[in-house]
Amino acid sequence: MTAAALLTAEGLRKSYGATAALDGADFSIAAGEIVAVMGPSGSGKSTLLHCLAGIVPPDAGTVRYRGREVSAMSDAQRSALRRADFGFVFQFGQLVPELTCLENAALPVRLAGASRKEAEGRAREWLRRLEVDDVRHHRPGQVSGGQGQRVAIARALAPSPRVVFADEPTGALDSLNGERVLELLTEAARESRAAVVLVTHEARVAAYSDREVVVRDGRARDLAGAS
């Protein structure tokens, strides 16, 4: 674990029925760092992300974010933390289909209490940086997969999160589109000093990270930390 760790997990265990998804996983990430979480399908990497982000409480073990124990927080406290400090990008953008791309990107900022004008101003800035400002008035169903994923990244970064959780963010894109999305995501995260937890089973995606953590059979192995 590094001294400047922003988010850490120790001894995480999580089972779904009789299946142990996590079986004693450790993890740590520093501010501004991009860490790839790798491993085969079913190894527990998405469960690790869900526990780290406070989406799912672990059965045992602790998650600490800036010294606070996330695993001990109430549901309401964890929701507030996710809204204020965390951003999310999933494999399929998961944009709200009834809203325009601009409204989607502005949504978390609005939920955090900003006015519509301010929220859309910030969202537009990110849509420009992610090269999708021209589709801002389109609905998600009217844009390509790559554009939708860029809108999802703009939505994740607009509230200035300290940690972005990206679960197979390019899994549904072709290779060129996927690479451009990764370039934009990592560039934007580095500029805003956001840490990124990048879950992927692809080495080419992991190559955009600073280091990798390998999850196998529910255990996470931090190779950089081990050396």
């Binding site: 085969p40 370039e183 692809e202 080495a203 080419r204 992991a206 190559a207 955009y208 990270s209 990798e212 390998v214 196998r216 192995r221 190779l223």
Partner: protein, 174 residues
Amino acid sequence: MSISHTLLGLLETGPRHGYDLKQTFDQKFGHDRPLHYGQVYSTMSRLLKNGLVEVEGIEPGGGPERKRYAITDAGITDVAQWLARPEKPEPYLQNTLYTKVVLALLTGRDAGELLDTQRSEHLRLMRELTRRKTEGDLADQLICDHALFHLEADLRWLETAAARLDRLAEAVRA
């Protein structure tokens, strides 16, 4: 692939004659290219000279094929160092990596750790290429992409091997 390290690793599982060594090597690693007897004996005499193997006994009848070779402590250290050292990532490494994995399993070492160390080494180079690609022009991008695709293929093989280590261990020890 390093033939001398491979023969040395096979000797770690127990002393053997040169003929046995060749047979075992061909059976486990030499599917397309069996070893020549001459390669075995020249390798053994070099390993003897370097103190990595010793002659445990000579059977009546004389001749180099009657010598029974055993690995020395220095030889075991040499095998351990070779297995622990990741290979320089380059295309078509699977022969060497396969040999290392099988020898690690045969000698009771952690083959999973060997694969993890190699994955890190591959990813280190992939990061460097990715950085060069994002900062470079189209020609750089295409050149780096070629290397990245090959490294990715090797890594996929590593993942497949890692997922089958238990079965492979059973097979090689049978």
